[in-house]
Symmetry: C2
């Protein structure tokens, strides 16, 4: 299978993207890789670092779209950026999946405009996976669509369910709706109507509402929500963890006694930190697009790129788009 | 001044409510206290516990509204509950402020229906105060109004600013709008229009958007948001903290070495836990009602009730309702 990677997305591009590709080619024999980006620069960087990139094909793209730019520019002034060119190649069939660590906003806009959505899907959703103590869970939408119609909750549920089953290997994944309370009467009109629609959807295992305080406690595998709620949950979790860990550090270095104790616990504390860092668990999937697109984290290193490529590889191998399309079509028909 | 307390709100009612009242009467010489609730039961409980409640006046109320009941019942079948009777007494002028640890939903509904709002205020907001490392911040709305119009953000900002100044004693409090990004173009239409309105409001120090990941880092003193975002932020922070601390505990008890180290750090870890526990910082104010109403936490003990009574006392003393009304009127006029 063929995977296209945006060579100029992320803080460590292009060198770590190149290295990640080589790691992936070593690890997986069933893939062919394409880098979208300025061919001249890529060859120069490879030569400077004594890296042989002859096994990677290059799709030349002159420009770069940065994270500071208006995402909408991907269809206008940044139409020849490495991200746009990669996505156009994806659409035209050059590749089966696309990986980028570039601007999330541009990727969301580009995926709809340059690649296209699954038939019947209103909007693509950003779906990161977070760790819990004994497993993981997915949140969608994490911020691509701030306002969501109730029908979108069901579409998110169907797509998230397929992803959890086929990629996260969770049997009969439990789908929950993020809400302010567990009773079906809770939330806005959208929540209440969404609850009904989710309950009536045959292809998913909907277990009801889930409160934000319970998301880390393994109560469900896929959390469906509007992008505003998703953004608030993800960023609050990130901030709270950062705040707690910095407070811990301060306390631990406050006396010789605590310093000594903290030294012993150092590795353990790192483990805790990792637990709540959602960046650790691969890239975020962009669900609803007609081909698999993985948003790798902006700070991805070579190994993270390798993992994101593998994530894309599994999506293709498991034909998750085919299964999502089928389940969406059935839901629309029923 | 006269403060009315719901004798049958909270997990430890009525005994801890009574004890809290006595603690408050001891500590503050400028208050008179009224307990709303079943007089017979209150006298029996006092007698059983050898407590002299002759200094507390009782406003008889036959019934109780529980947290499991539909909040709207406070205006119908639960119209003679201790909470409803207390709020009606507040409206009629028997008291200057009201404290309850009962159902938040019933308190929100009752405050609007039985007490009434400040002139011009569309909806009352729930405003808890959370600790940070070096101070605190307030979030409103924390869940009373899931959908908010942009005008409500400004009203929240005006009321939160007065509260932060007069009760939290923060000079020139910084008001932030919770949003998915810091740029003024971010968020929904409501966010963007709300941003403009907040920028144009003269009586507040609006500092722009704040992301959920930054709320614990002292960037602003009052965070204005719709109730859905507020609920998501509060509950995610609560859940993340609980999750992290339980993970820490597990790690710390995993070996003799770590157990020993953790023992030394025990008190320090408790401190961290307290930092993120918003229940610790008094009750949540119900802002927008024409008289001060404090929602004490459901698990309040005698000391927590004493603190909530003091919070109500400061609100009355500082005439925060008067200042809020004036600032709201000026904003509507300008």
């Amino acid at each position: 299978m063929k995977i296209i990677i945006d060579a100029f997305g992320g803080d460590n591009a292009p060198i770590d993207v190149i290295k990640g590709c080589l790691l992936a080619l070593e690890a997986y024999s069933d893939i062919e890789l394409f880098l979208s980006g300025n061919e001249k620069i890529l060859k120069e960087v490879a030569a400077e670092n004594n890296i042989d990139i002859s096994k990677i094909k290059i799709i030349d793209a002159k420009d770069i779209i940065s994270v500071d730019e208006d995402p909408k520019e991907i269809r206008r002034s940044k139409n020849s950026s490495s991200m746009a060119v990669g996505m156009k190649a994806l659409r035209s069939g050059v590749g089966d999946a696309f990986v980028s660590a570039g601007s999330t906003g541009a990727l969301v806009v580009g995926s709809s405009v340059l690649v296209g959505r699954i038939h019947g899907i209103k909007r693509a959703a950003l779906a990161p996976v977070l760790r819990t103590k004994n497993g993981c869970f997915m949140i969608l939408d994490a911020g691509a669509n701030l306002d969501c119609k109730p029908e979108m909750f069901v579409q998110f549920g169907i797509m998230g369910s397929v992803y959890a089953k086929r990629v996260l290997e969770i049997n009969n994944p439990r789908i929950g709706l993020a809400n302010v309370g567990t009773e079906s009467s809770k939330g806005t009109e959208s929540h209440r109507y969404g609850y009904k629609l989710l309950s009536n959807c045959k292809s998913i295992n909907f277990i009801g509402n889930i409160e934000a305080r319970d998301i880390f406690f393994g109560k469900c595998d896929v959390i469906v929500c509007d992008g505003l709620s998703g953004n608030m949950m993800l960023k609050t979790a990130e901030g709270t963890a950062k705040f707690l860990i910095s407070t811990l550090k301060e306390i631990f270095t406050s006396s010789v006694f605590t310093k000594f104790s903290a030294l012993i616990l150092k590795d353990q504390i790192k483990k805790v930190k990792k637990t709540v860092d959602y960046r650790e668990y691969g890239g975020a999937m962009l669900l609803g697009v007609s081909k698999p697109i993985i948003k790798a984290h902006g700070s991805s290193d070579a190994n993270a790129f390798k993992n994101a490529i593998n994530q894309a590889r599994i999506c293709v191998k498991q034909n998750i788009i085919g299964e999502m399309s089928k389940n969406i079509a059935e839901w629309m028909g029923g």
